[in-house]
């Protein structure tokens, strides 16, 4: 599904990513772990086109992502969330979701401006789709609320709904639990599971909450200072001494 080969990226003298390669299979949920500054989000930025890699390739279903503009990657089936939620603050939840369906629409600017019948039919179709997503996430109560007026937990939920509305085949989730209360994190796990099963997406997820990560992922990659230092089954990776040291700090010496 996703093949990343030898991706390198440096900012000035700092090597943010060094020869990173990883694979994500169809319908697989793969986790990325690593300390702050390991390059996890940088990798997401390269995949989604916000940064350009110095070298290497990333193929989604055989298509080279690095040759595409960011918005074209969305049309190819890529969807991502951000570490700090990025939505449209002054737009209502319903409108936020409609924007997500932008790439599902085909009507031209002219058709939209002149409200041609084709554009209106399409608009009705998109609105029906938004209704489905609102049902799936139980967001009915908030449909007319501007995103800026939502609590952070709800905002996270809306962001997830927005990405799901994109209908991506590969979902990049950047710390879905960050800033969410522990109790809500526990509810997040089953929801993510349900979403993943529901849309049948392949997922690459960055997450610091180990229980959540273990409950979701099939495999893990561990990054440190821009390099992959371990990969494999979640338990094995987390027990890997190098990972434990970089991620959790040096294990206390046993007496």
């Amino acid at each position: 599904m996703l093949e990343v080969r030898g991706v390198c990226l440096s900012f000035g003298g700092v090597q943010a990513l060094h020869d990173v390669s990883l694979d994500v299979g169809r319908h697989e949920v793969v986790g990325l772990v690593g300390p702050n500054g390991a390059g996890k989000t940088t990798l997401f930025n390269v995949l989604s086109g916000f940064l350009r890699a110095d070298a290497g390739s990333a193929r989604l279903r055989g298509v080279e992502l690095c040759d595409c503009y960011p918005h074209e990657r969305i049309a190819l089936g890529l969807g991502r969330t951000f570490q700090n939620v990025r939505l449209f603050p002054r737009l209502a939840v319903f409108e936020n979701l409609l924007v997500a369906l932008h790439s599902h629409g085909r009507s031209s600017a002219m058709a939209s401006l002149l409200r041609l019948p084709a554009a209106r039919t399409e608009e009705r179709r998109l609105r029906d789709k938004v209704e489905q997503v609102i049902d799936l996430f139980g967001l009915d109560y908030y449909r007319h609320t501007p995103a800026a007026a939502l609590s952070y937990g709800t905002l996270r939920l809306v962001e997830l709904a927005v990405v799901v509305a994109l209908g991506p085949s590969l979902l990049l989730l950047d710390e879905p639990s960050s800033g969410v209360a522990q109790k809500e994190v526990e509810a997040l796990g089953p929801l993510l599971r349900r979403v993943v099963d529901d849309i049948g997406a392949t997922v690459l997820i960055i997450e610091h909450d180990i229980p959540l990560l273990l409950s979701l992922s099939d495999r893990l990659y561990a990054l440190e200072l821009g390099e992959v230092i371990a990969s494999g089954r979640p338990k094995d990776v987390l027990e890997d001494p190098a990972v434990a040291e970089s991620f959790l700090g040096r294990a206390p010496e046993r007496a």
């Binding site: 086109g49 969305i74 449209f88 409108e95 932008h102 002149l114």
Partner: protein, 389 residues
């Protein structure tokens, strides 16, 4: 109605409230309003058609600000440059080359497209103040270099040229009908933007361009499209504007006019067609009707300045939002609050009328007193209106 009031914990419904909140079906109200706007000036002397045509064209120009600044979040100080481009294109096509009016109007619209693209592409990297400065520079270049060039004007002088109206729009009345039709069409397209794919893309880009990109919106395309659209309206309007005024002069299309237009629409309301209409009415009111009546122009100017300050601090949606909020505020406690809102509106209107008819010092003093009273009432509103509620 009774149930709505009861829900709000207000037992009584006054007659005033029931009259004010009875809703005319929206379309009916719109159709009646448009019919009045079209027929009344036509029934008066040609001067009124002239003023009405000017207003209609101002609406068209104002809509470009609604699209560019309100919807897509980009500030431009060259919207009147587009008017100029349209006017000069119509002059070159219609006056100098004798092309028929429809062709000249289409050329006027199309002439703005290369300008928009030329400005829109570098504008991709600029925001807010910097974009404003860049467009201001372009506006100045156009006034000095393009509009004032002998090659464009084809005359020995560089101060402008006269235009003769084609026979179809020779009278002010005919020209008003054309301008009215253009304003209606432009309003109709802009009103529907938010409910469609194009307008939503503009909004997404305005709100957060990273998030827009992450959702597959081509930010570059829509920022440039916003510029192109915001150039087309004043371009086409500019052709009619030139015929209406009867001539073209470079200094008519400078950044001062653009700045006034931008401020006017900010005061009126940046986010809706109504805002552009309010802005147009205020602008034309000031320029044409009160010509020579210095006191009144100053007073309306002060009023606008006051609204501008309120807008920047509290009400980003301008007069439109102030009106909406006032109605919402009044509805919460109709018996006590409707009289306040109605009183405020009557106060403003009476002040303006007084000033219009009695252009002496007394009227102006009265205006200031009324304004001060309004401010005091506003400050004391909690004690006066909330304690008993």
């Amino acid at each position: 109605m009774t149930s709505a009031a009861a829900r709000l914990g207000e037992g009584r419904v006054t007659r005033l409230e029931s009259i004010l909140s009875r809703r005319l079906p929206r379309t009916t109200a719109l159709v009646v309003g448009l019919a009045v706007a079209l027929v009344v000036p036509l029934a008066q002397s040609p001067f009124w058609s002239f003023v009405a045509a000017l207003t209609a064209l101002y609406v068209v120009f104002g809509l470009s600000v609604v699209v560019l600044t309100g919807l897509s979040g980009q500030i431009s100080l060259m919207q009147f440059t587009y008017v100029g481009v349209g006017a000069f294109a119509a002059y070159v096509a219609g006056e100098r080359n004798g092309l028929p009016l429809p062709v000249a109007v289409v050329i006027a619209g199309l002439a703005t497209v290369p300008v928009s693209v030329l400005v829109g592409v570098p504008a991709l990297r600029l925001r807010g103040m910097y974009l404003a400065i860049a467009t201001l520079t372009v506006a100045d270049v156009f006034v000095r270099q393009v509009f004032a060039s002998r090659a464009v004007l084809g005359t020995a002088s560089t101060t402008g040229a006269l235009m003769t109206r084609p026979s179809v729009i020779e009278s002010d009345r005919a020209l008003y009908i054309a301008a009215f039709a253009l304003a209606c069409f432009a309003s109709w397209t802009v009103a529907g933007l938010r409910k469609g794919r194009l307008g939503r893309a503009f909004l997404a880009v305005r709100e957060n361009d990273d998030a827009a990109t992450a959702l597959g919106v081509n930010v570059v395309k829509y920022r440039i499209l916003a510029f192109v659209l915001a150039g087309l309206y004043p371009g086409v309007g500019g052709a009619l504007y030139a015929y209406l005024i009867g001539g073209i002069a470079p200094l008519q299309f400078g950044f001062t006019q653009s700045l006034q237009l931008l401020f006017g629409v900010i005061v009126g309301g940046l986010f809706s067609v109504t805002g552009a209409v309010v802005a147009a009415l205020l602008a034309v009111l000031q320029v044409e009707l009160f010509k020579g009546r210095v006191g009144l122009v100053t007073m309306v100017g002060l009023l606008q300045l006051g609204v501008l300050l309120v807008v920047m601090m509290r009400k980003p949606g301008g007069l439109v939002q102030i009106a909406q909020d006032a109605v919402a505020w009044a509805r919460l406690s109709p018996t006590r609050r409707w009289p306040v809102v109605v009183g405020a509106v009557v106060g403003v209107v009476v002040t303006l009328l007084l000033a219009y008819h009695r252009q002496d010092m007394a009227a102006r003093v009265l205006g200031v007193v009324l304004a001060a009273t309004a401010v005091v009432l506003y400050r004391l509103r909690r004690r006066l209106f909330w304690s008993a509620a």
